[in-house]
């Protein structure tokens, strides 16, 4: 919303400081995003009288004007054809800097010295026209600064208006806010040459006529109130300078006097209006009705629009002329030839407008305002203001007072406020008088009622519907910063902390400690298999599905790292994956995944300068770390392509191994794992007493025939060695062509918890182990 400080000053009857106003509005809830000084760059331009216009001696298309700037008369060479001797024009003398930074110099044009320039509207930044010099209707004496004669210099605030405050979409509304803080009244500025005899509209309940036009509301839900006025005998033409300047000050383009008048009222009072050319109306009738499915209308923008039965239309006797509250039809637009206009001033149901503009995929200045709710009570005043303005700038007469079709007048809305509740919610004692005074200043009429306040809600505040809304008004005007910030005793939350938090923190600690970086990938992806959940309205095909797993995203991240020549990549991610289980919502599961590739440790100069790369045993370790951290119950099994984790109930919850990737030749193998985090609690740690007796160690190199696994061998060793075996670990594997299978070496540590173990006892246990291994697995000791 563009706000003109000049306009606001006129409404408040005092000069308003732009920066102060911006700060106040920001702290009232309408943040000002920019403060822009406009047209101040015309300071050097003056009003000049052209005394004579002669043809340039050497150029057919140029003239030489004698220009009097109040003190001296100079020659100015001019290319425009509209300059007339004896009239006044904007004149930029030598050394003036024009908008755009162009500095004027005295220079010879085809042999004639030109001292400065007579300016077109475009050169002054005041319009599109650059063919002719800007014509002025002014009494100002030559030499008067242009900005004094034509006060277009202004300051424009760009104000962010929240969706609940339609009243701030116009100058009167913004002025009301400032009036509350400055404690001054708001008064509409007088319109030059306006008649003061505009009669109040005539209220009817269903239909009526105005200027011979019958007005009927068929769709009362869509259009609770419709007012119409007829003005005959207008002369369409450009608006006077002051009106054009007002519109330009808010960034609107002047069109013609009648349209400009309605736009002025829009920006002043937030009442969108539409002017129809009465002669182009098909038949003397306006009907507000629902569209019939299949109907079409060509809107002002030239587009053909298909209508549906839940849209409200403005129709004449023959056809649809406008989509109510959204856009007018092309047929009955006001043109240069228009002499009689029908002025529409209506209230359309916000929800109806919203669904209509959503269905038609078009948002207009009018729809934006109707959708947020305009001031239904302020309509008669807005219409009278528009009629007065049209008559002032375009002439014409009303054959009869305007018509006000208002089938079910709304009851005055009111809300009770309990001063005790205000103090309770805001946490500071506020007197009833203070509350009352605040509300009155903001435009809410207040009357005491018992121990409460009975507050009337003006039509421009559709957002205020209950007590708490008024409490906010009190707080807002008082200023949020005026409330203390004071910690008071508090009771602890009854809501338990999500156990996932601790589970995820354990994983995060483990993996960052192991040198991995926490990754964060998008949860939207291009595909994900048959049970991936589809998004109905994706931005593109690349993000049409919810991710089914984490490893795909991490693999893509690794490929991106490879693309920037990063060979060593170590990432882990904890996040939600989604699965389509046929229900309306996807099933969500939390998972942890990691990928590693490249050097296992940073290269160091004490080594060869190149560290070994990650291999399968590293990813197995990371996988085991994750499993141990989140769900210690279950087993990791070796599979054809890696490992899988199976919970005690038999469900497979995770996988680890080498990954397929788009790998450059210089990159190392990529390994990864992915695991559901589940909901198991970690087991409590129980202390095991430290051993007090010495151990006996035995190394055992075994030949494992093909097909015998280390796990199977360990199972047999533990079984046969009995309780004396304290530790068991593989320390070597050897494969040689001279043997079938391979040799694996274990170190066994024996210990008796209560006495010093004798060597012979360990040897006996070892013999039992060997016997058992031979019998059950065909595994024998490797010959030295």
């Amino acid at each position: 919303m563009n706000v003109s400080i000049g306009w606001i000053s006129a409404l408040l009857g005092r000069a308003v400081d732009p920066d102060d106003a911006a700060a106040r509005l920001t702290m009232l809830g309408a943040p000002v995003e920019s403060v822009e000084r406009i047209h101040h760059d015309l300071e050097g331009v003056v009003i000049a009288l052209v005394e004579s216009v002669e043809r340039h001696p050497d150029a057919d298309r140029l003239t030489v004007c004698r220009v009097h700037d109040g003190t001296v008369t100079r020659d100015v060479v001019c290319g425009a054809t509209n300059v007339v001797a004896g009239r006044k024009y904007p004149y930029a003398p030598v050394d003036t800097v024009l908008p755009g930074g162009f500095k004027l110099e005295a220079r010879k044009i085809r042999g004639v010295l030109s001292n400065g320039m007579l300016c077109s509207p475009r050169e002054l930044g005041l319009g599109e026209d650059h063919e002719g010099i800007m014509e002025l209707e002014t009494d100002a004496a030559p030499g008067t600064p242009f900005l004094e004669a034509l006060p277009v210099a202004d300051v424009r605030l760009e104000v962010e208006v929240t969706a609940n405050r339609p009243d701030l979409l116009c100058h009167k509304g913004v002025a009301r806010e400032l009036a509350a803080v400055y404690a001054v009244p708001v008064k509409l500025p007088p319109i030059p040459n306006a008649p003061d005899d505009i009669a109040a509209p005539r209220r009817v309940t269903k239909k009526g006529t105005v200027g011979g036009i019958e007005v009927v509301i068929d769709d009362v839900d869509g259009c609770p109130r419709y007012m119409a006025a007829v003005v005959r005998g207008v002369r369409i033409g450009p608006s006077p300078d002051w009106l054009q300047a007002r519109l330009r000050s808010v960034g609107a383009r002047p069109i013609n006097n009648v349209v400009d008048a309605t736009n002025y009222v829009l920006h002043e009072l937030n009442q969108p209006m539409h002017a129809f050319d009465l002669k182009l109306l098909g038949g003397a009738k306006i009907v507000v009705r629902r569209a019939v499915a299949g109907e079409r209308v060509v809107t002002l923008d030239g587009e053909a629009r298909d209508l549906t039965a839940d849209m409200t239309m403005i129709c004449d006797a023959k056809q649809v002329t406008a989509i109510a509250g959204v856009m007018g039809g092309a047929e009955s637009e006001v043109t240069e030839r228009t002499t009689d206009v029908l002025l529409e001033c209506a209230y359309f149901d916000p929800k109806r407008i919203r669904t209509t503009r959503q269905a038609l995929k078009m948002s207009t200045e009018a729809s934006y305002r109707f959708e947020r709710g305009i001031d239904i009570e302020g309509m008669p005043d807005a219409l009278r203001r528009a009629i007065a303005l049209i008559r002032a700038v375009a002439g014409g007469q009303e054959p009869e007072p305007a018509l006000d079709v208002y089938p079910k007048p709304r009851k005055q809305k009111s809300v009770f406020v309990r001063p005790s509740r205000v103090a309770h919610l805001l946490g500071v004692p506020l007197s009833r008088d203070e509350i009352e005074a605040s509300l009155v200043r903001l435009g809410f009429p207040v009357a005491p009622k018992d121990d409460r306040l009975h507050v009337q809600i003006p039509g421009w505040r559709p957002d205020v519907t209950r007590e708490v809304d008024l409490i906010e008004e009190v707080a807002r005007l008082r200023g949020y910063d005026s409330f203390p910030s004071e910690s008071r005793p508090l009771r602890p939350s009854v809501v338990p902390t999500d156990p996932n938090v601790a589970r995820q923190a354990r994983l995060e600690r483990a993996f960052t400690g192991l040198g991995l970086y926490q990754a964060r990938s998008l949860s939207l992806t291009g595909s994900g298999g048959s049970d991936a959940f589809r998004v109905q309205n994706p931005l593109s095909a690349e993000d049409a599905y919810l991710r089914r797993d984490l490893l795909s995203g991490l693999t893509r991240s690794v490929e991106r790292n490879w693309a920037v020549r990063e060979r060593d990549v170590r990432l882990f991610e904890i996040g939600t994956v989604f699965r389509d289980t046929g229900g309306p919502l996807p099933e969500e599961t939390t998972r942890v995944a990691a990928v590693v590739t490249g050097a296992r440790v940073p290269a160091h100069w004490t080594g060869s300068g190149k560290a070994p790369d990650f291999d399968r045993w590293d990813i197995k370790a990371l996988f085991e770390t994750a499993v141990r951290s989140i769900c210690p119950e279950g087993t990791i099994e070796s599979t054809a392509d890696g490992w899988k984790f199976t919970e005690t109930d038999g469900t497979v919850r995770g996988w680890a191994g080498a990954l397929e990737a788009d790998r450059p030749a210089w990159a190392a193998v990529l390994f990864g794992f992915e695991l559901e985090t589940g909901d198991a609690a970690p087991p409590a740690t129980t202390f095991v007493p430290l051993p007090t007796t010495p151990p006996v160690e035995r190394d055992l190199a075994l030949v494992l025939p093909p097909g015998v696994t280390a796990a199977a061998v360990e199972g047999v060793i533990r079984d046969a060695a009995g309780a004396l075996l304290a530790e068991l670990a593989v320390f070597d594997e050897y494969r040689g062509s001279e043997m079938a299978g391979r040799s694996v070496a274990w170190r066994l540590v024996f210990r008796a918890p209560d006495r010093t173990l004798r060597d012979t006892e360990a040897d006996t246990a070892l013999a039992k182990v060997l016997a058992s291994l031979k019998e059950r697995l065909g595994v024998e000791r490797r010959e030295a």
């Binding site: 949020y480 602890p492 809501v495 902390t497 949860s523 991106r560 990432l571 989604f578």
Partner: protein, 342 residues
């Protein structure tokens, strides 16, 4: 010549010389060795020689002690000699400026670290951390939060739909409703999590980002408590001298609503490009819980009041570290992530 009755005291004295070994240089060490262990006149050597003349019981006791001291002294001297030798080698051969041998270092994702930090601060104010589903219903995402879809306020939430009435949550606020339906106050929760908006990826927008929602509901919680809670957080998270500003705003689920700004850290309030010349940076939307939300969730709005807030850790992380492009927070570039090793 030591006589047996004095042998005990002599041994005690010799035992003390062991302590001198650890600081002795090579010369002192040689001296000590001769003085105590010398073959001919070493004090300990002499005592050991004299033992033969003692009665068996006394000989056994003193002999054990003398041997013990001898062993300790020999070990200490050998150790000291090794250290002295090492020292010599070190000063001659080792360049201490050569790089150390490190292990890989990992790091949390900067945004998720900020999420934890924020939650930890609110934990100090009694807030527990909870979570909720990312796929939600319109009912929880909008309706229960007093945010009807036919109101223009809904336009600010450009939504990914999963089906009729089903969507990807546009904020973590639905968890407010879920928690209030399940528990009666006192409720104090923070809810971090992923949220989704139908915005194309650009330097300041991502269709997926993190949000932290907070909710405090109890009897007697007022606007003053609200300001105190937020103020506490801001000063703990930024710095104790951070200037905080509360500004009226509009959110359907709070009333009164506030936008919370902190004074721009870059320019200290004088205006710069980061704060778009305003001197302040918006860090959260907040306010007192709207009574309609309480009503929708089965909590008596006359008895209970409360405050709620929501903030974007992505933006806060970008501000804190001077990260110019939100996409960096999703690319998992090692060159980026490795900058956040702490």
């Amino acid at each position: 010549m030591t006589t047996p009755p004095h042998a005990q005291e002599e041994l005690d004295l010799i035992a003390q010389t062991v302590d001198r070994v650890s600081t002795a240089d090579a010369a002192v060490l040689a001296e000590l060795r001769t003085e105590v262990l010398g073959r001919k006149a070493g004090k300990l050597t002499l005592i050991l020689r004299s033992l033969g003349s003692l009665p068996p019981e006394q000989r056994r006791l003193l002999g054990a002690r003398a041997n013990q001291i001898k062993q300790a002294l020999e070990t200490a001297i050998a150790e000291r000699e090794r250290v002295l030798q090492d020292d010599t080698r070190r000063t001659v051969d080792v360049d201490g400026t050569m790089p150390a041998r490190h292990a890989w270092r990992g790091a949390r994702h900067p945004v998720l670290a900020v999420v934890d930090e924020i939650c930890e601060i609110f934990k100090e104010l009694g807030f527990t951390r909870v979570s909720g589903p990312e796929a939600e219903t319109e009912d929880y995402n909008f309706t229960k939060l007093n945010m009807p879809l036919d109101h223009p306020a809904a336009d600010e939430h450009d939504t990914f739909y999963l089906g009729p009435g089903a969507l990807l949550r546009t904020h973590t606020s639905p968890v407010q409703a879920r928690v209030m339906e399940q528990y009666q106050p006192p409720i104090r929760i923070v809810v971090p999590g992923r949220v989704y908006r139908r915005d194309a990826f650009d330097p300041s927008h991502s269709p997926v980002f993190e949000q932290i929602e907070g909710l405090a509901v109890d009897e007697g919680i007022s606007f003053v408590d609200f300001k105190a809670g937020i103020d506490y957080f801001v000063k703990r998270f930024f710095s104790p001298d951070t200037v905080v500003r509360f500004r009226p705003s509009f959110f359907p689920f709070t009333e009164p609503s506030a936008e919370v700004d902190v004074q721009c850290q870059m320019c200290k309030g004088s205006g710069c490009a980061t704060c778009k010349q305003t001197g302040y940076l918006e860090i959260m939307g907040a306010g007192m819980v709207h009574p309609a939300v309480f009503e929708n969730c089965g909590i008596d709005p006359e008895r209970y009041t409360g405050y709620a807030f929501g903030m974007g850790p992505d933006r806060i992380t970008m501000l804190r570290h001077g990260i110019p492009d939100i996409r960096l927070l999703f690319e998992n570039d090692m060159r980026f992530l490795s900058q956040f090793v702490s």
